[in-house]
């Protein structure tokens, strides 16, 4: 801190502080995540209001399979720690291991989306789609929005992996991109905590 006060603002701007301070890009992405948090808050509020409006249709108790939800939760938790291992290897500048752990994370994320699509399609096939009741509209909106976010995260992950391939070292720019995706991925896990607690577990009580 002391050397900051003795430096002129210009010299300070030229100094490469990326190693020790969070990049403005990552902070900006954090701000986006906070707005995303408010978006999910609004969808959760809608779900909280409509969760008992079955319109004669099935309730969560009849629809939800907690084993499936438990597997999805386990997959997301594992994908969180495998992304953490990718971040740690990125800091150690070990690019091969970053790619390996990102690939593992991708497979886990893709199987989560697969399980969710499977659940959605079997519900719709039984006539319990989003048009059945207000409860199901809110359910598909909330869980679908989370699933869409995970899908976007998977696409982003593939893009970063392709950009990282080749002989070049991990640049500061790439480190920032990895840090942003890390925040995004772990944030989606936090949203999922609320989904399995207040949609699935509260739905079968």
């Amino acid at each position: 801190m002391a050397h900051e006060a003795t430096m002129s603002p210009l010299a300070h701007a030229d100094d490469h502080h990326g190693e020790h301070h969070e990049s403005p890009n990552v902070f900006g992405f954090w701000l986006y995540l906070m707005t995303d948090c408010v978006l999910f808050g609004a969808i959760f509020a809608a779900f909280a209001v409509l969760r008992n409006q079955y319109a004669g249709g099935p309730s969560g108790k009849e629809l939800f399979d907690l084993t499936n939800v438990g597997i999805e939760t386990a997959i997301l938790l594992f994908s969180s720690i495998t992304y953490g291992f990718a971040s740690l290897n990125a800091m150690a500048k070990n690019k091969t291991m970053v790619l390996v752990w990102l690939a593992v994370t991708f497979v886990l994320g893709a199987s989560f989306v697969g399980l969710e699509l499977n659940e959605f399609s079997s519900m719709i096939a039984e006539g319990n789609g989003p048009d059945r009741s207000a409860f199901l509209s809110a359910f598909f909106t909330l869980v679908g929005t989370h699933g869409l976010h995970v899908t976007c995260g998977l696409i982003w992950m593939v893009v970063l992996m392709v950009q990282m391939m080749g002989p070049q070292d991990l640049s500061e720019r790439m480190m920032n991109k990895l840090a942003c995706l890390s925040l995004f991925w772990h944030f989606l896990d936090i949203v999922w905590i609320c989904v399995f607690s207040f949609v699935y577990l509260a739905g079968v009580m």
Binding site: V38, A48, S80, G84, F187, I193
Partner: protein, 109 residues
Amino acid sequence: MAQAHTAHDSSHGSYSAYLIGFVLAVILTVASFAAVMAHALSPGMALAAVTVLAVVQIVVHLVFFLHLNTSSEQSWNLMCFIFAAASVIVIIGGTVFIMHDTAINMMSR
């Protein structure tokens, strides 16, 4: 500088920090599912238990996976998070309160 670097590394996680966070998250998740699937608690108690466990697990994820802390480097991140969390509480709490009141007054339940 060396000291600053160490502080940076620890604030952005280590294998042990990720593993501690992961183990805590697994315990909290299992406890949450058990509270509901064991059918030992009344629905009200089970919902309270699940809510408390979810809040604790969110804090665990924020600290161990998103590396949010009270250091000066993170103060803006923390402030923005507190603002967003307060907004979410107002949105959800206000919506549930007003819509419940409306439903009661219109006798739609």
